[in-house]
Symmetry: C2
């Protein structure tokens, strides 16, 4: 009789099976001759209902000590559940209280708490239904990412967190130092002497692993990164984190078409897998958090994504009847309202917009013939807008050198990036996906701070 | 006729199959009527041998342009290979040079290069046999970690990189700031005013996700972290990195015994899986890098790990004939030479040493009866010494409070860690494994800088 996780008992336990469970008490209801306990061990949304007869050993002492949040070990026999929604319940033959939970001070009482309140309780909030479901879905989603890429022979590569370069020249970066800020060594010019810092030069937290992923794609053909990235942007919104996880595949011998195919296949796969692995959690989100969660998943899985050029998308937006807050005009970046209109209202399914104006995109994106546009792509999804951004990369040495110069970037910083175009260059492409945005999209959670265990935002670095 | 990866062709391609491959030229041998090309696409150690007949279209132009490192697309038909070591070779019907590789300047010529030299070429070294094998093994190993834990219902959790606490009060940490170091805001006391920094207080890069993993284990029972961690230690050795990946499982309702069982099962699983997934690469390491690689793997997989208390291990070391450089005495930490003696010479297999003196271990480890020792464990392996360190955690509120006080740590910093003991505390345990140490151990690579794509060490933050 080994310990079993509750999700397996709920799924495949049979009346008559003897089991031991270990978990935490969510609710307790006493009656004269017995008590009902709802026990949760984090393996599933639904707990296991335990019936403890007053005749079992130490019953009255245990019942005095059990309150919401207490940890227990229960042995017993499964029986058919008369209640609806559950196949089985556990008739306890033994009940041990492992750790009490002070009922006077335990902050997670039966009533509903706001997500804002729960954020102050980062060490306890995972014990609630919603956050529990979020982190199970987050795990399933992360796991699906690995499954997708590994089964296609992509290598997971770990690109560096500490970097001396800033990838796109975009994004505000955090500085990393081993120097004592109160005693910074200064040079003769009065400036900080980085020669005496750990790395001998100014060092930052990465904003993207793409450039290093390109290095690895030139050796292994297909690779992906999946790790933390950072932005020092002072944005106190429901969509921004200072620390978040990003996933970036990079494929050698691949053009924009192949990139779009992969992105579409990827999103379908991940949604499908999460629906299979976390069906209860996903139903919970659909019922309690956002009523279009399952509809959106279905939309992603079952529709061929629309593919349209930026130029055609702009024409379409200019001609439509919708009044937008921001102007629409060729050369301007699309705003969230435009992206959502395309995906939600016009096409009513995911849309991949391609070939954006050169001016508004990064230097490494491949220049299309004529030079006005680059081989970029954004995947827009109903309800959330941009979920994936990617491009075919510029693989031609001379063109890339011109783009770096035009962007005003120092060529010497890109010596190794240029070397990749000198030695066996190939057409290659990839994309980036903000992992928390994906989990938000999947679960319908309104605030990105509620889909990462310990969110880092301006003035928040607790836990 | 879709593109195939070379590893699949080598494994299951049949004479007569038509295939297209895309990869890079490792070597070229010309004869009068045809050329032999060794093409590698990063999917395996062994490349595919291509025979290009002089009669194919554009042959002479292609041959002029092809040098080591050039990228090519080859179409053709598989044929039985007359050479040994390969089942099939590719008779080209079409050959396209995608990107040339300047033979005058390409740094990876046929001759062997030192690993030190290759480190200067972080953007190209993955194209060599050894580094290619390392990163395939690294991927397989990372993948095996996920497979092991996911199949046992552990959730992968992402603990924060940015933190205001320092976990154990041990380890030198990097400071992270969004402030301009040349213009640091100062308070009236002349000290840096962190109130004006991004997080409003001094912030660091994490040295361990354990404490946060404990939070999650108290909600989901079984969890693991797998992500980057940092040390600002100025150690220029072959065993230290400033940035490295760490894997830390944490299990609720688990004692030291269960922790040892998991660690043993884990190592056996990972070695077995990597041997299956990367047999060619592992044979290469055994032949070219370290002749005990396969023997060590076999030793791990097929031996029951020895389990011995620290006290007994010290007695054993004191009584043995071996002369050690460092003293052996109860209360002193074991040195690498002692650990290796136990695993390599005495037991000749992995050893788990348990119950270390309280004085030399961290405050969160569970105090054994009597108080002289704590429920810690180190897994020692032949050739490498300590590979895993872990413990049962102190789950008793009053004992933990005393330990925090005794360690001179500020209790208020641990309010949430103590809360975990107030509300439904349970016996729990976990361990930590340095991922690069594991890959080093597995491959026999002498320098840890050669098992991570872009090593960060003092004065090294290139790429």
């Amino acid at each position: 009789m080994t310990t079993q996780r509750i999700k397996h008992i709920l799924k495949s336990g049979n009346p008559g099976d003897t089991v031991t469970i270990k978990g935490w008490v969510r609710t307790k209801r006493d009656s004269k001759a017995f008590s009902f306990l709802d026990i949760n061990d984090g393996s599933s949304m639904t707990g296991l209902q335990v019936i403890a007869d007053a005749k079992i050993d130490g019953y009255s002492d245990a019942m005095k000590r059990i309150t919401t949040g207490a940890s227990v070990v229960v042995e017993g026999t499964l029986a058919e559940s008369p209640g609806k929604g559950q196949r089985v319940e556990l008739q306890a033959s033994g009940l041990e209280v492992v750790g009490e939970s002070d009922a006077e001070t335990y902050p997670l009482q039966k009533k509903r708490h706001s997500f804002e309140f729960l954020r102050e309780l980062g060490h306890l909030r995972s014990r609630t239904n919603t956050l529990g479901a979020v982190f199970r879905v987050r795990n399933a989603c992360a796991n699906a990412i690995h499954e997708f890429f590994q089964s296609r022979d992509f290598l997971w590569i770990h690109t560096p967190i500490l970097t001396a370069s800033d990838c796109e020249g975009a994004g505000e970066m955090f500085t990393v130092t081993s120097m004592n800020l109160d005693k910074l060594p200064k040079g003769d010019d009065g400036k900080v002497d980085y020669g005496r810092d750990f790395f001998g030069k100014p060092t930052y937290l990465t904003v993207s692993g793409q450039l290093e992923a390109e290095i690895m794609a030139m050796a292994f053909a297909n690779v992906y990164t999946f790790g933390p990235t950072f932005r020092a942007e002072n944005s106190n919104t429901s969509r921004h984190l200072a620390e978040f996880w990003m996933m970036e595949p990079e494929m050698a011998f691949c053009d924009l078409e192949g990139n779009m195919d992969l992105a579409e296949e990827f999103l379908k796969f991940v949604f499908k897998r999460v629906l299979e692995d976390c069906s209860d959690d996903m139903e919970f989100f659909n019922k309690r958090i956002e009523k279009t969660v399952l509809e959106t998943a279905d939309n992603i899985i079952n529709n061929e994504f629309e593919r349209i050029t930026y130029t055609d998308a702009i024409t379409l937006l200019e001609k439509c009847d919708k009044k937008f807050e921001y102007p629409v005009s060729w050369g301007l970046d699309m705003q969230s309202e435009h992206e959502r209109y395309l995906a939600e209202e016009y096409f009513k399914k995911p849309v991949i917009v391609t070939d954006y104006p050169t001016e508004i995109k990064a230097f490494y994106m491949r220049l299309n013939d004529g030079g006005k546009t680059v081989a970029a792509m954004d995947v827009l999804a109903p309800r959330i807008g941009e979920i994936i951004g990617g491009s075919q990369r510029e693989e031609r040495l001379n063109v890339l050198e011109e783009r770096i110069a035009a962007a005003g970037l120092p060529k010497e910083d890109y010596w190794w990036y240029l070397d990749l175009r000198r030695y066996g260059t190939v057409p290659h492409a990839g994309f980036g996906l903000g992992f928390e945005r994906l989990v938000q999209f999947m679960t319908g959670m309104a605030n990105i701070r509620d889909v990462i265990p310990f969110p880092r935002t301006p003035d928040n670095v607790e836990f």
